[in-house]
């Protein structure tokens, strides 16, 4: 049973931002409710008011944004992203990722904005979006600011979003020409145990640029600085990939939990890292099944 709450359904971003400011941190933004409602049922979140953002026009949908980026509105459901022809064409790795989030019901109701703002450590999209250097737009009564995905996730269920801010837009830059994108995850229960995203650009047969991000094993998606510097300048080889994977094993910051030991999480991260780096290199080298 849910404790009583007031229900607001603003019809513009400005109205929603004003409500968030007026009602204070006791009010919660409500999108699909797939994270919020179970926690409210258990009394783990007490919200005096829900601000339903689903009547605000323009917060959903997928389009080509500026600089040929993909623009995904925060209200877009996992299902809509999974099936979007634009996403399938320009970022098939994201479409494939979304097709395996949760189950059909959570994908139909749950939104990408809710997933990112909740900052549950096992988020699939968070990991890939940090690797792709996505930018998030936050709106409050004070104005609009943009933040890199990498800086958005700050800790366990914690983000750089202030309680009076709304996530209003997600921009994913198109990977530079010559880049390969890969996302690898392992799961035996609802959410992934470990995941690795790699975005690697090759120039003249050597790595010119790369971002390798490990998700799910720690409190937030983490860039693997050592693996990245080992890869930068390297020519793709099994040895280079294995060395980067070992760097990931050492560098991840796994948290102990009821499901997996930290050693096991390191092993998963290293294995998935090897696979993701190999796949991104192969795609960057032109073995891709799609054109970028």
């Amino acid at each position: 049973m849910l404790a009583p709450f007031e229900y607001h359904r603003p019809e513009s971003l400005a109205e929603a931002a004003a409500l968030l400011r007026a009602l204070g941190p006791e009010a919660a933004v409500y999108a699909g409710g797939t994270e919020l409602l179970p926690l409210m049922k258990d009394g783990l979140i007490e919200a005096s008011a829900l601000i339903d953002i689903k009547a605000i026009p323009g917060l959903g949908g997928i389009a080509r944004g500026r600089d040929s980026a993909l623009r995904i509105g925060p209200l877009t459901t996992h299902r809509a992203i999974e099936r979007s022809p634009l996403v399938r064409e320009h970022l098939p790795e994201l479409a494939a990722l979304e097709a395996n989030v949760a189950n059909v019901r959570v994908r139909a109701a749950g939104t990408i904005g809710g997933n990112l703002c909740f900052a549950e450590p096992h988020s699939d999209p968070a990991t890939l979006l940090v690797a792709l250097d996505a930018r998030f737009t936050l709106v409050s009564v004070e104005g609009v600011r943009e933040i890199a995905a990498e800086d958005f996730f700050t800790g366990l269920l914690e983000t750089a979003r202030r309680p009076d801010e709304l996530l209003a837009d997600i921009q994913i830059p198109a990977p530079a020409p010559g880049s390969g994108v890969a996302y690898e995850r392992f799961k035996t229960h609802e959410r992934p145990s470990a995941s690795v995203a790699a975005v690697i650009r090759l120039d003249d047969g050597a790595v010119a640029d790369c971002r390798v991000v490990v998700g799910s094993v720690g409190v937030r998606p983490l860039r693997m600085g050592r693996a990245e510097s080992l890869l930068n300048g390297a020519r793709p080889s099994d040895d280079a990939i294995a060395e980067a994977a070992e760097a990931i094993r050492a560098e991840v910051a796994p948290t102990e939990d009821a499901f997996e030991s930290t050693d096991y999480k390191r092993q998963l991260a290293a294995t998935l890292g090897r696979r993701a780096i190999a796949a991104a290199l192969a795609r960057a080298g032109g073995e891709s099944d799609h054109d970028r």
């Binding site: 849910l2 229900y7 931002a17």
Partner: protein
């Protein structure tokens, strides 16, 4: 952007108008009522089951505008102006829906507690993808748990149902709705 703070004017109760299994229903609800509770306890349709209560098992599946949702974690107010379908809406005047008949004929039911969720999820799957491959059926049903049957007969029932429905419609209706 700078905006003035409005007078906060939320509601705690509201009128709900929905189409439930094809019938228009009007009822006043509280904002904190869950769809599952309104349908089971106030509208007396108890075919939908509460089980895990956290969107994992699929026993509480209803179709909201044709898409499966976990009614245990859906506010009743979400149904306003929309169509809800429960297991009670599946059979028609001529008897059971072909999906229901296929579940019976393939012995895909044991205790029956999970069955309404499987049947409704199957209905949504076949509306999207009338002739799914076995792997596609498995993918669509991973979020529905059955502790009796071992799943094999359920997968066979869905394949069988797809075949029967294609026959009923004439084989022409093979096109996939990718929307």
């Amino acid at each position: 952007m700078t905006v003035e703070a409005p007078a906060a004017s939320g509601v705690a109760r509201l009128p709900l108008r929905l189409t439930l299994n094809g019938q228009l229903v009007e009822i006043e609800i509280a904002t904190n009522e869950l769809l599952l509770d309104v349908v089971r306890d106030r509208l007396a349709l108890t075919g939908t089951k509460r089980s895990c209560d956290v969107q994992v098992c699929g026993a509480c599946t209803m179709l909201l505008d044709g898409r499966p949702v976990s009614s245990c974690c859906t506010l009743a107010l979400e149904a306003d102006g929309r169509a809800i379908e429960t297991i009670e809406g599946m059979a028609g005047p001529d008897g059971l829906h072909p999906i229901q008949q296929a579940f019976i004929d393939n012995v895909a039911v044991q205790c029956g507690f999970c069955t309404p969720g499987f049947v409704l999820t199957t209905k949504a799957l076949l509306a999207d993808n009338p002739r799914p491959m076995r792997a596609e059926i498995e993918h669509a049903l991973t979020g529905n748990l059955c502790r009796c049957t071992g799943y094999w007969n359920i997968l066979s029932a869905v394949e069988d149902a797809a075949g029967r429905m294609a026959e009923d419609d004439g084989e022409g209706r093979g096109a996939r709705d990718d929307g």
